[in-house]
Amino acid sequence: MTCAETLRLLSAYLDHELDAAGSLAMASHLDGCPACRRELQALTDLSGLVRGGGGYYRAPPALRRRLQARLAAETAPAKRPFPRGWSDAAGRPLAAVLALALLAFGAARLVLVPQPSERLVQDIIAGHVRSLQVDHLTDIASSDRHAVKPWFAGKLNYSPQVADFDRDGFPLVGGRLDYVRGRPVTALVYRRRQHIINVFVWPSQLDEVGADGAFDGFHLYSFQHAGMTYWLVSDLNEEELKLLAALLQRP
């Protein structure tokens, strides 16, 4: 084996990628050739340098969480045992009666009546909880509606109304994309004192505003306005949540 051939194959030899015959020929040439040995050493040093010093970028925990949320949104709703009769025509009046009965008891903590929108409610709460984790609250952090509103263009096929209510005590924190029932929706983030409020907005479809109330320590409130469905969720009390709802419905 000549020096020229050796030098050509040195890199592969270093990586143990030569076959048995080739490795043998290399080893025996290197045995008698200090110049080629020095070259091999230089290559070995370089390899060590890159392995030791080249930055290995590890995925941040937030990326993993976002990815898992996204994957969850991709999959169809899990089949859950659902009390038969709630969702069919005979069951709806029953559900309504039960809801009224619960309201009539004036319980401080309402139980949300199982309705076709059960998954929707779960997604709203999950989206809110996820957003409270580090680095996941907003994709666009700005109180300027002229920055936030256009951010959604190209990501959604509708343009949400965005307003800052700082003067009324509900400053706009920013916005992000979130997922409800597997579809991307607008999430606008407002603050009231130390409370974060998520406002999910999307073009209205049927059966989307359900019984509002408290669930797991969060308050939910929903309404439809100008063809859009709004769901508000926060640990803020219901009374103040309704104030924000009223502001959102201002023309």
Partner: protein, 175 residues
């Protein structure tokens, strides 16, 4: 097959390779946000094609998808003339032939990360896959879509170029 079971199987098989995916994307693209976007897109694509994964090395399978996604990102930004690929190539060639630049590099002790970033993308990716991911030539060939012989010669040339950029065998700062 029930959807949540499929997702659980996918996550178990593929999430362990998230760091490798993010590492490759970070070296191929310019910034963290792009790398995160690319990894998200790659994993979603992988999830949708999970039925086509017939076992074997999940890391190699995912990295091939990540690499393809990065390639589209990179081509898009090149079309927008934002990316400095041509620039990088010329800069490296210039630096290699320019005595003053060489002297400057030696005295500045160019950092390793910067030197790697100066490599053209197809050189950079084989170095990252070989040195940082310790993949075999065969696996690198699968990920990059190049024949093994090309991987071999590309790696040899990449190492030679890297040595040039780092200014020979003089001591260099690792970071």
């Amino acid at each position: 097959m029930d959807e949540s079971g499929r997702r659980a199987r996918f996550e178990e098989a593929m999430l362990p390779h998230l760091h490798a995916a993010f590492n490759l994307a970070s070296w191929l693209l310019r910034n963290d946000a792009d790398a995160e976007d690319a990894v998200q897109e790659a994993y979603l694509r992988a999830f949708r094609h999970f039925d086509g994964f017939r076992g074997g090395d999940g890391r190699v399978w995912v990295l091939a998808i990540v690499r393809n996604v990065c390639l589209s990102h990179w081509q898009k930004s090149r079309a927008r003339a934002e990316d400095g690929f041509e620039e990088e190539l010329h800069e490296t060639a210039r630096a290699a032939g320019d005595p003053e630049a060489q002297w400057q590099q030696k005295s500045e002790k160019i950092s390793l990360d910067r030197a790697l970033r100066q490599l053209p993308p197809d050189f950079r990716e084989v170095v990252v896959l070989r040195e940082l991911e310790e993949l075999s030539y065969k696996e690198i060939a699968h990920i990059t879509g190049a024949p093994i012989g090309t991987v071999m010669s590309r790696l040899a040339r990449a190492r030679a170029l890297l040595r040039q950029i780092l200014g020979g065998d003089a001591a260099v700062e690792a970071r």
